[in-house]
Symmetry: C2
Subunit: 332 residues, 2 copies
Amino acid sequence: MATIKDIAKKLGISVSSVSKGLSGASDVSEDTRQLILNTALEMGYVSRRSKTDTNARKVCIFVENMGYERIEQFGYEIIVGFRLAATEKQWDVDIVPIAMDRHFDYDYEEYMTKNNYSAGFLLGFSLHNDFLKQLARTSIPTVLLDNVVYNRYVACVGIDNQQGIVCSVEHLAKLGHTAIAMMNGEMHSRVSQERLQGFKLGMSKCNLPIRKELIAHGDYTASCAAPHIQGFIDNGATAIVCASDLIAHGVLAELYRLGIRVPESVSVIGFDDIPLARYTTPPLTTIKQNRLTIGKSVCMAMEQIMEGNAISRLLLMPELVVRESTGPVKLR
Amino acid sequence: MATIKDIAKKLGISVSSVSKGLSGASDVSEDTRQLILNTALEMGYVSRRSKTDTNARKVCIFVENMGYERIEQFGYEIIVGFRLAATEKQWDVDIVPIAMDRHFDYDYEEYMTKNNYSAGFLLGFSLHNDFLKQLARTSIPTVLLDNVVYNRYVACVGIDNQQGIVCSVEHLAKLGHTAIAMMNGEMHSRVSQERLQGFKLGMSKCNLPIRKELIAHGDYTASCAAPHIQGFIDNGATAIVCASDLIAHGVLAELYRLGIRVPESVSVIGFDDIPLARYTTPPLTTIKQNRLTIGKSVCMAMEQIMEGNAISRLLLMPELVVRESTGPVKLR
């Protein structure tokens, strides 16, 4: 096992050159970089971080507008996953709830520095514009859930939205559905755009037509779906892909109101697998976000940024959970 | 520090229930899962892997159609980055080159199992259909460069293509360019589609018009660009975004042949930062893929899959490298 110093000594060059070579910086000549890298491999280089035990770190989770104290709440398993992974790394974790009714009125960088936080995880932030501007120029390693900010110190962790909806469509196509509708969230949110792309990709993978009259945008609430359902039915939809479980709740309620049976007449599939998904009537088929894995992955991404590896996005594999709200298409 | 056994003993439940609770499996009741998770946090649970030193593993890198022995070759730093990260984890790494002229005619799973490989990294594979089919159903933790296969044991690592091209467009817009052309790779490749999306996103972020006559598809070779350049110029393009440095080489050559000066009359930007990018005339402004970071990230993604965390994609931050092939727009 060798350190940067050992390599520098052996090659007779400066520690900073070795450090640059090992990080892939382009201001070291290629010949030198190759020499450094080959020597690092030969000597069994390990970064200082993993050699010593003095890497105790203090990190901070900011939680806004999201419950996290009981398992029924969306934030609970994300935070537990994070804390479990942090325990292995011997990090201290503070949790700072941000009240729903007031903004984050600190200077982020100043707040983190003053409190000796090495890194932050922002969970459930709606991310107001001035906060986004702060994050765009911060040099504090920071991880966001679902939100994307392009800065080499900021990573986004979340589910692979596109592939999640592809799974939904493929599941319905296997059940014989061809007239599949999509009830999406806000048109301008990145998550909605990725889910819509997934819908189009899934439909074309299954050789099914994409019909404009079978796509609607609402928001991520249960109430947004109702105005669109009759139109979907009139246009022959036999299945509805929903961009969230909350939307699916609204779709199920409206179908019930219209006297349309699920899944006998229309299949419905959600997204998220929120704890209530198994308690709908009928129990909701959905795409699961494994929140423990999200929490663990946030911790891993955070460590990578701290080590200088600029991660942009880490997307997790969605998982189809089949319950009773989807079934074979009814031949009419 | 506690193990799964300690938690099971304390709670009086089976080891497999604890294990399921810790992985977020949905066949454990919520109450039980919350109890398990809270207990794990209280007792300071760490996974067995990180507690013992008996985690020596043997992993395999397959390299097809890509040089990796010298730093000028695209694969070199990726493999070094991987091996450096693997050294820290005390993994053994074998490298298996696959000849360009023959297919991978093994059964992947059988090959890996027979040779005691815990995981595989496939670098530079063109991924023939039957190999893709094998990967779609493998349960060997596997990481691919750029290619995407949806399977919870397979992850894709690569640069954030979309954001890379957004950076290119923003750089040109800041220099005053408004008529920006894009010379893309194959229309049907995922990488090209993501780069095209990035072009459209970047143009609309900069409030610039997307003009069909300024978008062309070729392949990722230097020779594909020539037929399109005169058309770009006739349509008023003052800058050309290229989907790769090889394409940019071809664009520079064609502009030279046409007697058009770079960057005085037309700016050109590449993608990849291949080692030759600094040796073009003029030296090429481009988007860097940090190959050491890619290699390290592959290793990290592999470890996550082995630990049961289903990663779908890990995207790395692109980095703008400004050399001399881009400059302020020439007012005509």
